[in-house]
């Protein structure tokens, strides 16, 4: 819509859970931080409810483009349980006796 009166926010979200934009990710990559594990700790990408199912493939492609590494050789982060959000109380109660 050329001449659209609406505000052009230009928000380009890569991690929907944690509201992180691709520009924020690229800024770190430009500083030389091309390790997904480090990006995760610095930006919280992939640490929300979906556990990186949405953002990881996109960020891995960015890292691959920046480093020249093939996408398949960009290391992912560790896949630790739990794979889905679970209340601490539920875990703490443990398994009920049969």
């Amino acid at each position: 819509m050329a001449g659209c009166s609406c505000k052009d926010k230009d928000v380009n979200i890569v991690c929907r859970c944690e509201d992180i934009t691709i520009e924020e990710v690229r800024a770190y990559i430009d500083k030389g931080i091309t390790d997904l594990e480090q990006l995760k700790r610095l930006l919280r990408v992939g640490m929300g409810p979906c556990q990186g199912r949405t953002c990881t493939p996109v960020i891995v492609r960015e890292i691959a483009a920046a480093t020249g590494k093939p996408v398949g050789e960009v290391p992912l982060t560790a896949f630790r349980p739990p794979t889905a959000p679970v209340k601490l109380g539920v875990l703490a109660r443990g398994e009920e006796d049969d």
Binding site: M1, A2, C4, C6, K7, D8, K9, D10, V11, N12, I13, V14, R16, D19, I22, C50, Q51, R53, T54, C55, P57, V58, P70, V71, G72, E73, L76, F79, R80, P81, P82, T83, A84, V86, K87, V90, L91, R93, G94, E95, E96, D98
Partner: protein
């Protein structure tokens, strides 16, 4: 701790078929699914399948889901846990599950992972505006809950899902302004694509979405043409007045449990991302862990059902169950799968599978 012969994670087309085939040989099966229903993505597939009769041609996914779910519930050897989410796999072979805020530990002799896939997303300015949906989500809204996502939709992606969901939106009385496809040709079968084309929906190949517009929700979108290097060509922008942007840009396999189990994984773009290396029995590099359906590579429901059947038979066989015609059953399924993956349409899948099947 619950012990079972075979635990199957995921009650979609692959998991249900695996359960039925394994149980038919005599194996005790524990099937878990995180939803409160069985059938997975089949329950929203209101279109008819096509292909051969064995591939359930002319049946609708929703009816196949009902039939499989009914058969699974009737089968004495199968125990079903719904609203049960697999939280993790541990080195001692235990699957941790949460059901109704209770923890269950399952120790199976064999594990079949049939967790399916998740929708991929796309980067473009304002992609967080309300009105930007995944195509799968839109299909659930419309076909399962009877809710229209909006009045006028721009579909991004002309694979089978994008094209089928576009047609189902038209059936629901929602306008489809156009379908955008970055590749020079559509990925969908023509049997589906020709329906939307006949209905007057334009398909823009070699185009992508450039941006969404809107203050607090989607009010429009701009698309742009791509050159042969997938770069946008300035001056080719087109604007659309739409209140929904629907992303149908592929799926990625839901492989967390396999990573936790230490299965060898390979990046295979043709199969949607990193997928497990498997042998022809669909067993991963970790003995006793099998895969079937989209988790092993994004394909179709028909292929998922056949892989499920194979994984179910093989897991039961590895436990010592047998039948006089077992090898014949396996050979029939393999032949059907080969047929399904034959020709130019199956080329991508064949290339992908060749990289991870040992």
């Amino acid at each position: 701790m619950r012990h079972t012969e075979i635990c199957i994670v995921g009650g979609g087309p692959a998991g249900l078929t695996a359960a039925l085939r394994a149980a038919a040989l005599g194996a005790a099966v524990l099937l878990i699914d995180r939803n409160d229903y069985l059938g997975g993505q089949l329950i929203k597939q209101t279109h008819r399948f096509f292909g051969s009769k064995q591939q359930r041609a002319s049946e609708r996914g929703i009816n196949i889901a009902r039939e499989l779910a009914y058969a699974v519930q009737e089968e004495e050897k199968i125990t079903v846990l719904t609203e049960a989410t697999a939280l993790g796999y541990y080195k001692d072979g235990v699957v941790l599950v949460e059901q109704n805020e209770k923890i269950i530990k399952i120790k199976p002799k064999k594990l079949i992972v049939a967790t399916g896939g998740a929708e991929k997303t796309l980067l473009f300015p304002n992609n967080d505006l309300p009105g930007v949906y995944g195509a799968g989500a839109v299909q659930t809204l419309v076909n399962v809950y009877g809710v229209k996502p909006g009045k006028r939709v721009l579909m991004v992606g002309a694979g089978n899902i994008g094209v089928i969901v576009s047609y189902q939106l038209l059936q629901a009385g929602v306008e489809v302004a156009g379908i955008v496809e970055a590749a020079p040709r559509i990925g969908a079968y023509w049997v589906h694509a020709s329906k939307v084309v006949r209905a007057g929906v334009p398909i823009y190949t070699s185009h992508t979405i450039k941006r969404a517009w809107g203050e607090s929700e989607v009010e429009g979108a701009t698309i742009v043409q791509l050159d042969e290097n997938w770069q946008p060509i300035e001056g080719t922008e087109k604007d659309f007045d739409v209140d929904v942007i629907c992303l149908s840009v592929g799926l990625s396999p839901l492989t967390e449990l396999l990573w936790q189990a230490g299965c060898k994984m390979e990046f295979v773009p043709e199969l949607g991302g990193r997928v497990p290396v498997r042998n022809e029995n669909l067993e991963t590099s970790v003995p006793g862990i099998y895969v079937a359906g989209d988790v092993s590579g994004i394909e179709e429901a028909s292929a998922a059902m056949m892989e499920g059947a194979l994984a179910g038979l093989n897991a039961a066989r590895a436990l010592g169950y047998n039948a006089p015609d077992l090898l014949q059953r396996k050979a029939e399924i393999l032949k059907e799968l080969e047929g399904l993956r034959s020709g130019p349409v199956g080329e991508k899948i064949r290339t992908g599978l060749a990289k991870v099947t040992c």
